[in-house]
């Protein structure tokens, strides 16, 4: 009897927390379908019928889709480039011996301890020098070297690819590059997908860097566009605002629905090998 009561209490608590997690999003979606007048009038959990108008409103005021497109371009590019480079780097570390290898890997590890925005001012300066300020390329270059990805992939590669496989390929007559592309890369793909997803989400959510680098509205990333909602000019059309926020996080929602297992496994797994 006591057992059931305790269980009930536990479920109640967990459901409560669950609701706290979900309700803001639910309200966001609901309010995205209501008119500003309705929203001002009171809270409601039932969707309204203002979706189309809000949509028109938000897209006429802001370049939502340009923002989404820009961010998608940057994040996809970073995901592909950084995963490939991290894969090549991890491969190099696991299967080869050369001077300074320990040192180089140590540098990669050490960089994980550096605060994200430490080089912000310097990067701004660099972009001016290279004449890439206010370009999406600048955002892509910043994210190309994924140190955490290298660290994760190194562990992954070591556990998934036995040395004998590489040796068999060498005896078979494959060049080192061919071994990487035909043998190692396909086997590292799940790991690379993992870090690719993390990298995609991280860069999608990155705010301070685009804020610093990008100044032309056409090139704004989605986080910058959303922040525009925050200025007093647009502020009173609540329905449109809610819808705008909702649109901005749709890609993340999609990623989550598709890859939540991979992501959660990645967090848990990456931490155990400490």
């Amino acid at each position: 009897m006591k057992h059931s009561l305790i269980k009930l209490a536990i479920y109640a608590f967990l459901v409560g927390v669950l609701l706290i997690c979900i309700v803001p999003f639910y309200l966001m979606i609901v309010n995205g379908t209501r008119s500003a007048a309705d929203i001002n009038a009171g809270v409601s959990f039932i969707p309204g019928s203002y979706l189309v108008q809000n949509f028109k409103s938000i897209t006429s005021q802001l370049n939502m889709f340009t923002g989404l497109r820009n961010t998608a371009v940057v994040c996809t590019a970073i995901m592909i480039v950084s995963s490939y480079v991290a894969g090549l780097t991890a491969f190099s570390i696991v299967f080869y011996e050369y001077r300074f290898k320990k040192l180089l890997f140590g540098i990669i590890l050490a960089s994980l301890m550096l605060p994200q925005a430490l080089g912000l001012i310097g990067y701004f300066d660099l972009c001016i020098k290279l004449n890439i300020l206010d370009t999406l390329s600048a955002l892509i270059f910043a994210g190309a070297a994924n140190a955490a990805g290298v660290f994760f992939l190194k562990q992954y590669t070591q556990s998934v690819i036995p040395l004998a496989l590489i040796q068999a390929a060498r005896v078979d007559g494959a060049s080192e590059l061919r071994i990487f592309h035909r043998i190692a890369l396909p086997m590292m793909l799940p790991g690379m997908a993992s870090i690719g997803i993390f990298s995609f989400v991280f860069n999608w959510n990155n705010y301070i860097l685009p804020l610093t680098i990008i100044s032309t509205p056409e090139k704004y990333t989605i986080s910058m566009i959303i922040n525009q909602l925050n200025s007093t000019v647009y502020f009173r059309d609540f329905g449109a605002i809610y819808l705008g926020i909702a649109i901005s996080i749709i890609p993340i929602l999609v990623v989550f629905v598709l890859f939540s297992k991979v992501i959660i496994k990645g967090i848990a797994g990456g931490s155990i090998d400490k």
Binding site: P162, A164, Q167, A169, R170, V171, D172, A174, R178
Partner: protein, 367 residues
């Protein structure tokens, strides 16, 4: 097809202990040479040096007439079958086999022809589109062999290819591999820790221990003319009996004294061991050289009473275990005559075929 030659080859890891010491060996064209020895004896290391997967610390390696010490594996024209097969898990059987040829930029038509040939030879034709994880152990092993065969190399290297298979499959594959090698007439270096495998497969066998070659010879010679106690004990199952003995001169005869019994050495052998008379030696008798007197007649002088501790009845023969000089020894006897545990019986030692070894060096002094 080429010869293989190792000249004073040594391997040391990080400059310390020598894993492989001064190996000198020649493998003839078309020969199947087996490297055999206990774990850690250096056989796999030597194989990998031949493959180019380990650097040779000193000495020279020849494949054919070329010194290949600094040649990368892919340019040595060799193929290797790994112990765990090392199949590429994300590729089909066809792609696994074709990989080497594709890497060497062999034309597509030729690749297809060779892969199909190999698949037929190894009964893999209907498995070509499958991936390794869907294959049985035996099938995977055949794919590994197929991958090697298809490249038509100068030398085949096998690193304990059968050790992951169960006993029945192992026997079957042993025969098949040998048939394959005879058909292809390629030079093969084959590493195994199983001396039965070595004896049944090899044209010649190289016995290694602690990085040093003990003896390189045909199976027959290894069995009947072991150069030292290690080879004598390693080859042959059940293990040969090696016991302490004394050589005693009795007029013009040399006697081998084991515990309280004496056995007469035939003249040829006696001449060879003359220098050791009066000294302590080791006497080696294989199980079949100890006979139960019920079975056959023997010279009265080579008889001994032994107490049987354990008996194993194999059907066609029996193994009886008895203590001698404090060691547990074994004799192979026929199925006739009753044997009871704990009782003493008369046995006869075949001194014609026994071996005498130097007690310190282990060298065979009676050859």
């Amino acid at each position: 097809m080429a010869q293989l030659k190792l000249e004073n080859v040594c391997k040391a890891y990080t400059g310390k202990i020598l894993t492989v010491k001064d190996v000198n060996l020649q493998v003839n064209d078309g020969e199947l040479m087996v490297f055999v020895g206990p774990s850690g004896c250096g056989k796999s290391t030597t194989l990998r040096m031949i493959a180019g997967l380990e650097e040779i610390t000193s000495g020279k390696l020849y494949i054919g007439n070329r010194v290949v010490n600094s040649v990368t594996p892919k340019d040595r024209n060799i193929a290797m079958v790994f112990q765990n097969y090392a199949l590429y898990p994300h590729m089909t059987v066809y792609d696994n086999i074709a990989f080497g040829l594709r890497s060497q930029k062999v034309p597509k038509g030729e690749i297809d022809k060779r892969v199909m040939e190999a698949a037929e030879m190894l009964v893999l034709t209907d498995k070509l589109q499958k991936k390794p994880k869907h294959l049985s152990g035996g099938e995977r092993q055949r794919v590994a062999v197929g991958r090697a065969v298809v490249r038509k190399p100068e030398v085949f290297l096998f690193d304990e290819p059968l050790s992951n298979l169960d006993a029945t499959l192992r026997e079957k594959m042993r025969v098949q591999l040998r048939q394959l090698q005879l058909k292809l007439k390629t030079t093969v270096v084959y590493v195994t820790h199983d001396q039965v495998e070595a004896m049944t497969m090899g044209d010649r066998i190289c016995v290694m221990n602690k990085g040093v070659i003990q003896q390189v010879d045909t199976p027959h010679n290894l069995y009947n003319k072991p150069k030292n106690t290690f080879v004598a004990k390693f080859i042959g199952s059940p293990q040969a009996n090696v016991v302490d003995a004394q050589l005693v001169q009795d007029n013009d005869k040399v006697l081998v004294k084991i515990e309280n019994s004496q056995f007469e050495l035939p003249k040829e052998k006696a001449d060879k061991v003359k220098k050791y008379v009066g000294k302590s030696v080791l006497c080696c008798l294989r199980p079949e050289m100890i006979n139960h007197v019920v079975d056959q007649e023997c010279q009265v002088i080579n008889k001994i009473q032994l107490e049987v501790n354990v008996m194993e009845d194999l059907g066609h023969e029996r193994l009886v275990y008895f203590p001698l000089t404090g060691k547990e020894c074994v004799a192979r006897i026929g199925s006739r005559g009753s044997i009871e545990i704990g009782k003493k019986y008369t046995f006869c030692f075949d001194m014609e075929r026994c071996h005498i070894f130097d007690k310190d060096s282990g060298e065979n002094i009676s050859l």
